[in-house]
């Protein structure tokens, strides 16, 4: 299903569209192998009509990060995965294409620790101000015992007692 979309993407961006799947008419999943992900995103949103950004999902599989851009339009949901290096995780902002992406970018930045380059407002949105700077709770290698003893007036110690 949706072979025409696969063909269009393949022609426009040769060699970078990988793992294209369309298990039913209303869903498309694929990943990018390098290339400028923002060009692909802009093409999907502006030219192909998948114009609504549902969310951005950050995934940690233990060895690498991935940001999945979930779009919706023309009765079809499209998920585009972009690989991110775990050693130096960063990704370019898409707020110049969809300003509404800001909350999702702030979320992946603080929850998964993927730095969003050129984000217009990079302050914390969700996690507390006194949360340690280098801890990202949604990463696979994070667990609650990594919080310092002093966090929230010894909250953890009290909690364990």
């Amino acid at each position: 299903m949706n072979e025409d979309i696969q063909a269009k993407l393949g022609t426009k961006f040769p060699g970078i569209i990988a793992e294209f799947k369309s298990p039913r008419k209303a869903r498309i999943y694929f990943r990018l192998n390098g290339g400028q992900f923002k060009d692909v995103l802009a093409y999907l949103m502006k030219d192909l009509g998948y114009s609504h950004l549902s969310t951005i999902t950050a995934i940690d599989n233990g060895t690498a990060f991935e940001a999945v851009y979930n779009l919706f339009g023309k009765n079809t949901g499209v998920s585009m995965g972009v690989k991110i290096d775990r050693g130096d995780p960063h990704i370019e902002t898409i707020t110049d294409i969809v300003p509404g992406a800001l909350v999702y970018e702030r979320e992946i930045q603080e929850m998964m620790g993927i730095k969003v380059d050129n984000i217009p407002d990079g302050r914390r949105l969700i996690i507390p101000e006194n949360w340690p700077q280098d801890q990202y709770p949604l990463r696979k290698d994070w667990n609650i015992s990594m919080l310092p003893e002093s966090f929230n007036d010894g909250l953890l110690r009290k909690w364990r007692e």
């Binding site: 549902s54 999902t57 979930n70 509404g100 800001l102 949105l125």
Partner: protein, 392 residues
């Protein structure tokens, strides 16, 4: 981005409109709001992380508790996603029952919202009316599912409770009653002049800006953006049930009110149709414990808008990642925009008009048990309270 008003004034973490915590900071110039800023996170509970440590069926009960109002929405979208990953063929009867409960939930949520919105503009008569009539739908939900909130009717592979003919009949009678009441609100309540003056041309957001800021639900539909997952991306039984997507091109709080009231009437129609056309057959199929490797982008139209669960499975009995994007998070950017340029007195109603639900928008980080966990009964609690004040 940031204009500087003369004075910055903080609101919160107690919500100026609803009973949930988040923090706002408004830069004001006299009475005018120049810019608004929102800080979330006060009700984060670590649910996304928690799902990764639980089996799918355990995670189902956890996601159901993300929100007290759209609990059925979270449970249904999660089930739909997992069923799609498993490749399960879910019986039609269960899909219809999910739809009926989903629409009852929508009526309950919209009537609750309408009461709150009326209260925010000092129209307490309407608040009393709408909350009184909401009790009808709460009773119907209890009849259909056994619970007033957190209905727990879903399971992976179907529903847990059948709907009998008699129950269907009572549901239809109750829905008829609600329809009458809501028509009255539409023809009398909303036409009230003082109400009109508070909601008309307040919190205006144009269609173009709504699209750019990726708004969803009645917030988008009230500005003429006809996004509705029930029609665009049919799930459960919506592909087979005729209904209209209600939109308004007024772009203000009034538009959002009209959309919600119109949706209640549509929901009534959907429920009646679903009961009359309820297919015979089983209500659930057995689901395997392990889920094959894969990913799924599941969508659902909650009372507040588009809900997304993105589930990644790794072939085990626990999910690799469950991402929840509740509609209120999608509407945070639009509400910031809507507040700018209006009076301080308009803040509560503009905020209320997106029907924000911050326990949905917040999910992840709060450590359980900020104090020592203790269980006590009512008498012990009372004695504890009296003692606490004595020793103060």
């Amino acid at each position: 981005m940031h204009h500087t008003g003369d004075i910055t004034f903080p609101v919160g973490p107690q919500h100026p409109a609803l009973k949930e915590p988040e923090f706002f900071s408004f830069d004001v110039d006299g009475e005018k709001v120049v810019s608004a800023d929102i800080r979330l996170g006060y009700s984060h509970r670590g649910i996304e992380k928690g799902c990764e440590e639980r089996t799918y069926i355990q995670a189902l009960y956890l996601v159901e508790r993300i929100c007290g109002i759209c609990s059925h929405s979270h449970a249904t979208v999660f089930c739909q996603g997992v069923e799609e990953l498993m490749g399960l063929e879910v019986p039609k009867r269960s899909l219809y029952i999910r739809t009926i409960v989903g629409e009852l939930e929508r009526i309950h949520s919209h009537l609750l919202w309408f009461g709150v919105a009326a209260h925010e503009v000092g129209y307490d008569t309407m608040f009393m009316y709408s909350w009184r009539d909401r009790e009808i739908v709460m009773d119907l939900l209890e009849l259909a599912t056994g619970n007033r909130v957190n209905y727990s009717i879903n399971t992976i592979g179907g529903v847990r409770r059948d709907l009998t003919k008699d129950q269907g009949q009572i549901l239809k009678e109750g829905i008829g009653e609600i329809e009458k009441k809501v028509l009255y609100y539409m023809n009398v309540g909303i036409q009230e002049k003082t109400f009109m003056m508070r909601v008309k041309d307040v919190g205006v957001i144009s269609k173009e800006v709504t699209e750019k800021l990726a708004a969803c639900g009645p917030t988008a539909r009230g500005s003429g953006v006809p996004l509705d997952a029930r029609r665009d991306d049919p799930y459960a039984a919506y592909g087979e049930i005729p209904f209209e997507v209600v939109t308004s091109d007024k772009c203000d709080v009034l538009g959002r009110t009209l959309v919600r009231i119109g949706e209640v009437l549509e929901s009534c129609k959907i429920i009646k149709y679903a009961i009359d056309n309820l297919p015979e057959g089983p209500i659930a199929v057995k689901a395997p414990r392990k889920v094959p490797e894969g990913e799924v982008f599941a969508r659902y139209e909650t009372p507040r808008g588009e809900l997304v669960h993105y589930i990644k499975s790794n072939g085990t009995e626990k999910p690799e990642r469950v991402k929840v994007r509740a509609p209120s998070l999608g509407n945070v950017m639009p509400v910031k925009y809507m507040l700018e340029g209006y009076n301080i007195a308009d803040i509560p109603i503009i905020l209320a008009a997106i029907d924000p639900c911050f326990s949905c928008a917040d999910r992840m980080v709060r450590i359980e048990g900020t104090r020592n966990n203790r269980e006590m009964n009512w008498q012990q609690l009372r004695a504890y309270g009296i003692n606490w004040y004595k020793n103060k």
